[in-house]
């Protein structure tokens, strides 16, 4: 078979089969097509305004390295006049971040973009290595700490640079993964936000004006209103990002984070990879579904009928999205098991509460069973009465026609109390400021401060460095 010719220029030999649409392209045509598509995401979503100062969240990995390179290229090509800077977070992960930061520094020099680094250690008094030594690799996902901390670190870093807009390297695979993960976790609010190209904090709320953390290090005196986040690569396949980096000979650090990802993310990631193998287009289709479903989330911020992209409010944890790429989860399942237990409790409460509402089936089934079962009718009666007893306690249903005998109280009664808790409406998300650090938060104390409180409580007073991954 003769070699395929590039579908665009019809002259060079095709080197690349695009997973996104099966197009066969030569390398130069692929590179320009890739850039055109990113430019199109940027212009159709009106992501930037001319002369805007933009911080590129740079991790040294392939996504943000490609993002920085493409933005620099497009900015020059189209004369957008953007003022680009690199912003890196040093989580303090030996063997991973220290090396990747070297890659960021080389990129900064190569592209001629200024680099600013914000470290967890400096900001929170805890590096991720210390956090993991403290909480162990199991238990609460390491990525939870990392994600919550990263979000604030990025915002504070941006504020320090006087930047109102941070772009991140989240790609189509990451976004698809997030859609699946939010479905698995049953997280409707995030399902409503995870696919928007821009997320933003509501404006006119100050930040960093309150007391800073009690730990070491303060960033302090930072005040800014609204930091916008966007994902210009959200339609770019991970595979194509790797291809782009390869053909442009970009310098990036490819090792995955050594700490375990959230179990749900790990699970979703595997599923997306398998889906891609079956039908490569499905990554785009998942993203498309996610965008469509976001419009169906009740009270979604990115409500229906909006042709224009909207800046959708985000919350903590979202920066964990694709933030660390590890799939070496040692505690994989821990988070899922935790959620499973919670759901089971809810189900049990529900069971205790609602089973009583169905009189006919209860009786019908009992009635039917009598002729077949060896079970004594006394047992059946006890069951029935138990059910009725509960019913009177909490519901105002008219007495049913079921045989009522003396109510027998069992543990089912006790459990039913849980239902009351379940029925109280979830607290309304109202954004205020964290009373400790001044960061935007829907709770009195923000998530980062909550996590820090737990860490600081457990930290040995002597401040001895704990070596190795304990616990």
């Amino acid at each position: 078979m003769p070699p395929h010719l590039c579908q665009l220029c019809h002259t060079s030999r095709a080197q690349i089969l695009r997973p996104k649409n099966h197009a066969r392209l030569c390398a130069p045509c692929f590179i320009s097509t890739f850039e055109i598509e990113i430019a199109s995401t940027i212009t159709t979503s009106h992501l930037f305004h001319p002369g805007e100062r933009i911080a590129i969240g740079a991790s040294g990995g392939k996504d943000s390295t490609v993002l920085a390179s493409v933005l620099q290229t497009l900015n020059e090509r189209h004369g957008w006049g953007l003022d680009l800077v690199l912003l890196s977070i040093d989580e303090g992960i030996t063997g991973y971040r220290d090396h990747s930061l070297e890659a960021v520094k080389r990129n900064s020099a190569e592209l001629g973009l200024p680099l600013s680094i914000v470290s967890y250690e400096e900001l929170y008094g805890w590096s991720m290595d210390q956090v993991v030594a403290q909480v162990g690799r199991g238990g609460k996902g390491n990525c939870t700490y990392c994600g919550v901390f990263r979000r604030q670190a990025l915002d504070r870093g941006a504020a320090g640079l006087g930047v109102r807009h941070v772009v991140t390297g989240h790609n189509a695979d990451d976004v698809a993964e997030t859609v699946v993960m939010n479905l698995l976790r049953g997280d409707l609010p995030r399902l409503g936000r995870g696919t928007s190209v821009v997320t933003s904090m509501p404006s006119a709320v100050g930040m960093g004006t309150g007391k800073e953390w009690e730990g070491k290090g303060r960033v302090g005196e930072v005040a800014c209103t609204s930091v916008k986040r966007s994902k210009p690569l959200m339609w770019a396949y991970e595979k194509e990002i790797v291809l782009y980096a390869h053909h442009k000979k970009l310098d990036y650090f490819s090792t995955e984070c050594i700490y375990s990802p959230e179990a749900f993310r790990g699970s979703a990631r595997t599923l997306i990879k398998n889906l891609e193998r079956i039908r490569p287009e499905s990554i785009m289709d998942v993203v498309r579904s996610g965008i469509d479903m976001a419009k169906l989330v009740p009270n979604a911020e990115g409500g229906p009928g909006s042709g224009k992209p909207e800046a959708v409010q985000r919350d903590a944890g979202e920066d964990a999205e694709g933030g660390c790429g590890g799939s070496n989860g040692e505690d994989a399942g821990g988070e899922m098991a935790q959620m499973e237990r919670k759901l089971q409790q809810d189900e049990q409460a529900e069971e205790d509460g609602t089973e009583t509402e169905i009189k006919i089936p209860t009786k019908a089934v009992n009635g039917q069973r009598h002729d077949r079962d060896t079970q004594t009718s006394a047992t059946a009666a006890a069951l029935t009465s138990n059910v009725n007893g509960q019913d009177h306690d909490r519901h105002t249903h008219p007495p049913s026609n079921t045989t009522t005998t003396v109510p027998i109280r069992t543990k089912q009664e006790k459990k039913s109390n849980r239902k009351a808790t379940r029925d109280t409406p979830p607290p309304k998300q109202r954004l205020g400021q964290c009373e400790r650090c001044g960061y935007l938060s829907s709770q009195a104390v923000c998530k980062a401060c909550m996590l820090l409180e737990g860490l600081n409580k457990a930290r040995p007073r002597t401040g001895i460095e704990v070596g190795g991954a304990g616990g």
């Binding site: 039908r279 287009e281 998942v286 169905i358 079970q375 543990k411």
Partner: protein
């Protein structure tokens, strides 16, 4: 166990959690249950979902007719079994029933012994009306031939369609992937069910999908770009195809339903058509639905409540408001086209993907 708090009314953990009389035979979610309590659990979950078809909701002498498509798999057989019981109890108690079942078996010609099995089912549950249709009937439903004719033209001219070969398999052979074939088969089956239900003046269709199946469908439809159709296609009482669909098994896991089949006396096992195990599973003939089935089979083992939660979450999404008169619908799957299809297309993106994988351009 030292240090562990005992509940005030001590529960004997060696006995069934619910009746405290029999030895447990199965653990449901976290509760050890005896066979009798488990059977009750299964039927309660199903009958609870049949609330709107209680006797009091039917006018005397005017039973409501419901279509029950039978795949003869474990789920549809258990549904048939429980509803048969439900109807006898209704009749016993009030002298009449709230509904009647019209059971439909659609033969895709792929599974041997299905005709004989269908006869046995009829004998065992004689109180219902039964009929069967070949799946290829869907090809002659209104609008379908025109829609699929471009595919038929794709076959080589020296291999004229029909007469010798089955038109359905000829059609399927032109599709780009196993996923496309499975999707088209599913859409055709649904079309035929809806058509039959309307033809026989049924009020609604009862599907035997378990929680597990609905969770699989949630992720599969999401992966096929059809996420926006989910709330209307898996919600109870929604009618995206012209008449309401109900899912009475939506609160049961597949593994629970399968356990139930061997509890029934006489066993349902010999009434069930087993899936032909797929030879040599390769990526090439794995479908998106297969992948989701494998995935949720493992999630169901360890985290059954997470499976159920996926379905509950999807159920909380709003059903998109349709302006019936103005809205154009996909001619293959009935999905609203606005925003979900290229300009002037008669098919939605999802259906375009079935017919040819990569979008043009």
């Amino acid at each position: 166990m030292p240090g562990r708090r005992q509940p005030p009314a001590a529960v004997d953990t060696t006995l069934c959690r619910r009746c405290q009389a029999n030895a447990p035979t199965i653990t449901v979610r976290t509760e050890p249950l005896c066979s009798a309590c488990f059977a009750k659990y299964v039927s309660t979950k199903i009958i609870k979902r049949m609330e709107s078809f209680r006797v009091r909701h039917a006018e005397a002498g005017k039973e409501r007719l419901l279509l029950l498509p039978l795949s003869l798999g474990p789920c549809s057989m258990v549904l048939l079994h429980i509803l048969s019981q439900h109807l006898s109890v209704q009749a016993e108690k009030s002298g009449r029933t709230g509904y009647r079942l019209l059971a439909l078996f659609i033969d895709d010609g792929a599974r041997e012994g299905s005709a004989a099995l269908f006869e046995r089912v009829k004998e065992r549950y004689p109180m219902h009306t039964y009929f069967n249709l070949p799946l290829s009937d869907a090809l002659s439903l209104e609008g379908v031939p025109e829609l699929l004719s471009p595919l038929n033209q794709a076959t080589p001219p020296n291999n004229p369609p029909s007469t010798t070969t089955d038109p359905l398999s000829t059609l399927l052979s032109t599709l780009p992937s196993a996923t496309s074939r499975a999707d088209l088969l599913h859409i055709l089956l649904r079309k035929l069910v809806v058509h039959a239900a309307q033809h026989h003046a049924c009020e609604a269709v009862l599907w035997a999908d378990s929680t597990t199946r609905l969770a699989e469908r949630t992720l599969a439809e999401t992966a096929k770009g059809r996420g926006f159709t989910l709330p209307s296609s898996i919600g109870d009482g929604e009618a995206p195809h012209g008449l309401p669909f109900y899912y009475p098994m939506r609160d049961l896991l597949r593994k629970e339903i399968i356990s139930f089949t061997s509890l029934v006396e006489p066993g349902l096992d010999e009434m069930i058509l087993r899936d032909v195990p797929k030879a040599a599973v390769s990526t090439k003939n794995t479908t998106i639905d297969d992948l989701m089935k494998q995935y949720f089979a493992s999630v169901e083992r360890e985290f059954p409540s997470i499976v159920a939660n996926v379905v509950r979450t999807t159920g909380k999404l709003k059903v998109p408001a349709l302006r019936e008169e103005v809205e154009e619908h996909c001619e293959l799957c009935d999905a609203p086209l606005r925003g979900h299809a290229p300009e002037r297309s008669r098919l939605c993106y999802g259906c375009i993907r079935i017919l040819r994988q990569a979008p043009a351009g």
